[in-house]
Symmetry: C2
Subunit: 474 residues, 2 copies
């Protein structure tokens, strides 16, 4: 089954691959660049998804389902879009035993087909805003793949909206990036860096891309999710027109925004340690594992009954409990397994505990290991879960600060970044020629920050038009 994990400090990349598979989040698929999301990983994804889906609905969006297969001509309608996606497309050329007259693209994203439908559905300002979301699988033929971080097929939600005015589109993008920030910070316990993508890094066909960037423990950036103000070219290319309040024909303003299974990769990297995963309690498929401590001279059924009673009591309060009462495994082997899976809390209970009406409660972070009375258990489990959630976020924030640097001149910080990774906040003139200099250090502009503290461009020394953050990226 599982073997020793690679050293997380010296071999982070291998550690990541191994922990994803050994913990039961995912498995290799027999299809290039694809993965299986295994039951434990899928339960985690469902918890994240359910929370986000709830918020998407609460903020006035409606779920729908659009076709997986998109006519090639649709993808080609918007020039920037096709240029961006062409190298990554999977193409169905044969169906029902015959060569298709027009090939069909397995969707890499659904702007084209959804905008086609918008053109049919939107006639008047009364039809706006139109706020649609889809939970779907998409396929992009990526060169290098890694489970969750970049897979040929991945799972996501893609929101697509249409509005009367540019301001409303802007407000929509803001609404959703704030939802994403809340989900990442308050549920996944991952602090984010928010900003705008440079022209060269934005979505193929967007006027503007807002991004959340995560800082991974190795000092590299992971793009967590994005929201786009879609170019009016889309509305024009797909003929989306509406009669505005003055009776004139107008094109609506469009947004799109997506959150993917990559979030699980972020969670693995940000919180994991040498023992394996650590899952934030608010999204944990298993919050508490109970391990009975059997003794040779005590009937194991007595302990098992007590364990089931405790499990039921906790479950009655919506706490996800797993009981590991296998008699052919040692407690040590069980501890190893559930630590690898990152279960936030553990309860041990043996005959002496039962006699005293107590259990031993510990947490995956090693914050405390204490005897807790039956009466106090529910309350203690809740408090400990909150503490683990809070501590995970604080730990991640601290590390983010350690990896965050101010850099003035690329000639100075570039070589350091290239060697040691890390995030560098600096100034930029917003010329692409300066941006291109970053390639020398395998780095990119992760985003343009809302701040403007550094006065000069990192490269040409001209006036900065706003701070940026520079890093290597996954």
């Amino acid at each position: 089954m599982s073997t020793k994990l690679p050293n997380i400090k010296t071999d982070f990349s291998q550690w990541y691959n191994e922990v994803v598979f050994q913990s039961g989040l995912a498995d290799h698929a027999p299809v290039r660049g694809c993965m299986i999301i295994c039951p434990y990983g899928y339960a985690l994804w469902e918890n994240i998804k359910n929370r986000l889906d709830h918020r998407i609905k609460e903020t006035g969006h409606h779920n729908a389902a659009f076709p997986l297969l998109i006519p090639q001509s649709f993808i080609e309608k918007e020039k920037q879009h096709v240029a961006g996606f062409a190298p990554e497309l999977a193409v169905v050329t044969i169906a029902g035993g015959k060569k298709l007259e027009e090939p069909l693209i397995v969707r890499p994203t659904s702007e084209t087909i959804i905008h086609h439908m918008f053109a049919k559905w939107i006639k008047s300002w009364r039809d706006l805003p139109m706020k649609i979301n889809q939970w779907a699988n998409v396929v992009r033929w990526e060169m290098r793949t890694r489970p969750f971080l970049r897979t040929t097929e991945f799972w996501w939600q893609e929101g697509h909206t249409a509005h009367e005015t540019p301001q409303e589109a802007q407000d929509e993008a803001e609404l959703m990036w704030k939802e994403y920030i809340s989900l990442y910070e308050n549920y996944l316990a991952i602090p984010v860096v928010f900003g705008i993508k440079s022209e060269s890094e934005k979505f193929a066909g967007a006027d503007r891309t807002y991004t959340l960037e995560g800082i991974m423990p190795d000092g590299k950036a992971l793009q967590l999710c994005t929201s786009h103000i879609i170019s009016q070219n889309f509305a024009k290319s797909f003929g989306i027109m509406f009669q505005d309040r003055s009776g004139n024909q107008a094109h609506p303003y469009l947004t799109s925004w997506g959150f993917t299974t990559r979030s699980i990769g972020a969670l693995v990297m940000v919180h994991g340690d040498e023992k394996g995963l650590i899952i934030p309690p608010k999204i944990a498929p298993i919050m508490v594992v109970i391990v009975p401590i059997f003794k040779k001279d005590v009937d194991s059924s007595i302990i098992k009954n007590e364990v089931q009673r405790i499990a039921q009591e906790l479950r009655a309060h919506s706490i996800a409990v797993e009981v590991d009462d296998r008699e052919d495994e040692t407690p040590g082997a069980k501890f190893y397994k559930w630590e690898l899976k990152g279960v936030p809390l553990r309860i041990e209970i043996g005959p002496r505990d039962i006699a005293q009406r107590t259990v031993v409660l510990s947490d995956r972070l090693g914050l405390a290991k204490e005897s807790v009375s039956f009466d106090q258990l529910l309350q203690q489990v809740k408090e400990r879960a909150d503490r683990v959630q809070k501590t995970l976020f604080e730990r991640a924030q601290e590390r983010q600060q350690q990896l965050w640097h101010i850099g003035e001149k690329i000639s100075v910080f570039g070589p350091v970044l290239d060697k040691e990774n890390g995030f560098y906040q600096t100034g930029w003139c917003q010329q692409s020629s300066c941006e291109a200099e970053l390639k020398k250090y395998s780095a990119t502009i992760r985003c343009i920050l809302p701040s403007n503290k550094l006065n000069h461009c990192f490269n040409c020394d001209q006036a900065s038009k706003g701070d940026i953050v520079v890093a290597k990226a996954y």
Copy 2:
């Protein structure tokens, strides 16, 4: 927007197509045989899906996600399977700008790839039973398509399980067909006919297929969902082996079972009427629509406020309420719209009602239209919803009985069936030559029933091996 529906009695087929689109369940997609599931249809699907997902988990299954694209060689491993599915496959031959060495099939079902993983995951009897479920989209290149009933792409859950013994596999199939019956009868209010498929009608690669058949109002059958005892050939072809309790290597016993978006088509046909859909309350995206009756001499905001108060009170008790307080539409136009969408209950409220602290409560079936006091409203809404749910099922049962006939000789009932449709219970010798005679009347054996009342085969007059039911099918 919407135009008059075709006559449901004289033009059922056109009525179906129109009501699906006009009610907002689905729309035509610009891809052959595909549909868009629109927000209202998707909300309905989510309600059905959430209920089934809950039961799938409660009965010990785990959700997971497997790749969309399956290597062609996998599909070809099991002879019956490939023979059954070959004509319907969509094939990816180009990806990432290059011709693929091995084409990839867009999954028509996932037995092959899941069994490949089972071979990796199952080593010992301790790994059994393995009970996996996937919510997914699948693609089958069908000749004739109709929204929900048969679409090129459809959405479903597919359960795949592996067991130590044939009995356990049998028990699993039974567990799930009973869940399906409960879902159809208790939630969708659709009575089902349960039985076993004949050899010629069973799933490609199954030893045995259990089916639920629905009787549509036009007397045709709709296969509602199926559970399969999968042939041991699959376990052999994919090399799924485990060490049994005696220490010997053995192949596990497999099942699969699926429930699809076709269920929505069944619901439309079984319950709909000349005004449009009728959605069973237990799965209705909107349980009650509130239509305020504005009067010229009364400030509309007074009525609107009262309507919002009532809506909030009902929503606080988990009742899905829609408020239609548009001032530019007549009450009549609103009634038409919400009847078309099949909302089970309607509340009207005008100034006089407010003064009397009452509303007018009516239901989509026309069972009652009564004045109800504010104090009684919540209770009355619940009772009416229950009554609508119960009445829908009883109505469907009655019609099922009307369309159910006993037939002795195909020469007698065949011509009648061909002309007037309907279900014919008869005897069968279980020879395929007799089964083939049904083609003359465009009919098939829908299933072998658990009963054995008719003594002779409908065709050859030899001893019957069990009752069957014969009908034309969608």
